[in-house]
């Protein structure tokens, strides 16, 4: 099996091609598979985090979009001439799939405040994580998406702007508003946490 761990994303992307139609050398099936596996290992976590936290409240829908993202990414490699930012490209695919999905079926999420109180009885990391992810559901879509891209995927504001088709200032503003809103939603619980820390 090929070891592509020291190859760049761009080199791996070129290796995904199966034909010489775009001028580059065609890769063998084994090379394509190895390159794809390496890219999946590198970026699967980020894309999955985006799908799970920014895309949908349904785990099944998120998994479907996650899978479809990588399949489309592989297919796109057969036609895209250049690739300068593979993770951003992956996240853009996931985002487009998400938008299509939301256009078809707009989900609603109702926060059960009792559930928040119940879950916040103990202030361990898991409980706070549950509160954060629940609070994420209360954010507006663009704010949640920007927040997830920044905090989960580690995207710069410029990358967020490119992925979400907005300006860098807008991207920064969305992240900050999301941070402030999450803090306000979790304020009662965070205050208790402060006392326990």
């Amino acid at each position: 099996m090929f070891n592509y761990s020291n190859r760049s994303d761009e080199e791996l992307f070129l290796l995904l091609r199966s034909s010489t139609a775009l001028g580059s050398q065609a890769s063998s099936s084994a090379e394509r598979e190895a390159a794809f596996r390496e890219l999946y290992a590198r970026h699967g976590k980020r894309v999955h985090a985006y799908c799970v936290r920014a895309v949908s409240s349904s785990a099944q829908e998120a998994e479907d979009i996650f899978q479809e993202t990588f399949v489309r990414f592989f297919n796109a490699a057969q036609t895209e001439r250049t690739m300068t930012n593979v993770p951003a490209f992956l996240l853009r695919i996931a985002r487009n799939l998400c938008l299509n999905h939301k256009r078809d079926s707009r989900p609603t999420y109702v926060l059960n405040d009792d559930d928040l109180h119940h879950k916040a009885q103990e202030y361990g990391t898991t409980e706070l994580l549950h509160l954060i992810t629940t609070a994420l559901e209360l954010l507006e879509d663009d704010q949640r998406e920007a927040f997830v891209l920044r905090k989960y995927d580690g995207c710069s504001f410029q990358e967020i702007a490119e992925i979400t088709n907005t300006t860098e200032n807008n991207a920064r503003s969305r992240v900050h508003r999301a941070q402030a809103k999450i803090r306000s939603i979790l304020a009662p619980y965070l205050a208790d946490i402060d006392q326990h820390l």
Partner: protein
């Protein structure tokens, strides 16, 4: 970025600081504000806590193994043991429990089931339809095994090479199982000679088959076995085999009661054939097909057809179970509309609908060679008297037995020819039907 002195803007400074985007000249202002503003310090602490907590979101950062497998499967890659992406953080018992929660496991199972269903449903559907139709045909003919047994295909399907298909049910080919329904096979039908390999195993099978064909219609496999073991020649055969293991069972069992009255006198036509050398035609498929097609260009003149028109003959050699290559010849009318300019510079448009003899190299891909019904693709690259010819067909073939095959498909063909240095084409679309015999 300019920040004015307000609580909100210090929060902005704080967020930029946490994002690593705070300019050095603003750090001093932020730190000064932090020393004086308890709320700002609390917010810093909380945001740090939120950021740290997010990094423990193992569920988000760990794609399920089933998702990875599904992706690789969809792309035609084999799943590997190491496909699961390691989470960048340590697993806590609670988060591990979350990952293996019934809900998530259900999602994974659902995903696996969905993928498996999508991948297998078409095959299952084809197999089911094939089996039903084959069962119906066999039942309506009243002779469950006549075709296969008489032409020797039975043994080639059920263990001629490996013998491991003996107790199977025929898989997707729709062939009936070996057990049970022998009793219903053609009572009163004269057994025909068939070719088998001269091995003990297959001779036993043959004896069972032949005797069961003579057995009462309600006989079962158990009675078949009893019939076999109660043969008067059985002890002699055992003795011959024990004396000389190289002795074939057919030689050890020379007298097979071919007829129901057990005269033990085989007629010449009923004498079982000994092992024969492979036919030189083995692997060759000969077929004929007709075509009903229309020109894509509207044909303004009728076709001048010469018998046999819109027909073809082909011979294919099986490279493997899926791939065959060969030659194909046919005769077919093509509508032509092309232009030429005479020496005086006058342009003429020519419309004609002649019939051409064509020939070429053929390739066929059979998707499900073991199935009764199988999709296939068939392409031909060839030539006519006036130019090149390309044709492609996709369709479904029906194999009532291992030798005969009927097909029906949609076909596109085009004639390529030149006039005045300009290339023209005469495309056609239509339906092709035919039959082939495999040797």
């Amino acid at each position: 970025m300019n920040y004015e002195q307000s609580s909100d803007n210090f929060t902005e400074l704080l967020y930029d600081f946490l994002d690593g985007a705070l300019a050095p000249e603003n750090e001093t202002r932020l730190f000064a504000a932090l020393t004086q503003d308890a709320d700002l310090r609390a917010e810093l602490k909380e945001q740090l806590h939120i950021n740290a907590t997010i990094q423990t979101d193992e569920y988000a950062f760990t794609p399920p193994a089933a998702s990875g497998e599904a992706i690789f499967a969809r792309l035609g890659f084999a799943a590997e043991a190491g496909d699961t992406i390691a989470a960048p953080i340590l697993a806590s018992p609670a988060s591990t429990a979350a990952l293996t929660s019934p809900a998530l496991t259900g999602v994974s199972l659902a995903a696996r089931a969905g993928i498996a269903f999508r991948r297998g449903s078409s095959l299952v559907l084809v197999a089911l339809l094939s089996s039903l139709l084959t069962a119906w045909l066999l039942r309506s003919s009243g002779n469950g095994y006549g075709g296969d047994i008489n032409n020797g295909d039975f043994l080639s399907r059920f263990g001629n090479s490996s013998g491991n298909g003996y107790s199977g049910n025929g898989g997707s080919s729709g062939a009936p199982p070996f057990h049970g329904s022998f009793a219903e096979s053609g009572a009163g039908t004269s057994p025909q000679p068939f070719v088998i390999a001269d091995t003990v195993f297959q001779t036993v099978i043959k004896s069972v088959i032949i005797r069961q064909e003579q057995a009462p219609s309600n006989a079962t496999m158990a009675t078949a076995y009893q019939t076999l073991t109660s043969l008067p020649e059985a002890p002699q055969a055992e003795q011959a085999l024990s004396t000389n293991p190289q002795t074939s069972l057919s030689a050890a069992l020379p007298k097979v009661p071919w007829t129901q009255d057990s005269t033990h006198t085989p007629t010449p036509a009923q004498t079982p054939a000994v092992q024969q050398a492979p036919s030189p035609l083995t692997g060759i498929t000969i077929g004929a097909r007709g075509m009903v097609s229309r020109s894509i260009i509207w044909a303004s003149v009728p076709a001048k057809e010469t018998f046999p028109s819109n027909a073809a003959l082909y011979a294919l050699y099986s490279l493997s179970t899926h791939h065959s290559i060969g030659v194909e010849f046919g005769q077919e009318s093509f509508f032509q509309r092309y232009y030429f300019t005479n020496p005086q510079g006058v342009e003429f448009r020519v419309e004609q609908h002649p019939t051409f003899v064509w020939g070429g190299l053929a390739y066929r891909y059979t998707m499900l060679p073991e199935s009764t019904f199988s999709p296939f693709a068939h392409v031909v690259a060839g030539a006519t008297q006036i130019g090149g010819l390309g044709r492609g067909m996709v369709g479904v073939s029906y194999s009532p037995d291992a030798r005969t095959q009927f097909h029906l498909g949609a076909e596109a063909a085009s004639l390529f020819y030149q006039s005045d240095g300009v290339w023209f084409m005469s495309p056609k679309l239509g339906v092709s039907y035919g039959v082939s015999i495999k040797f």
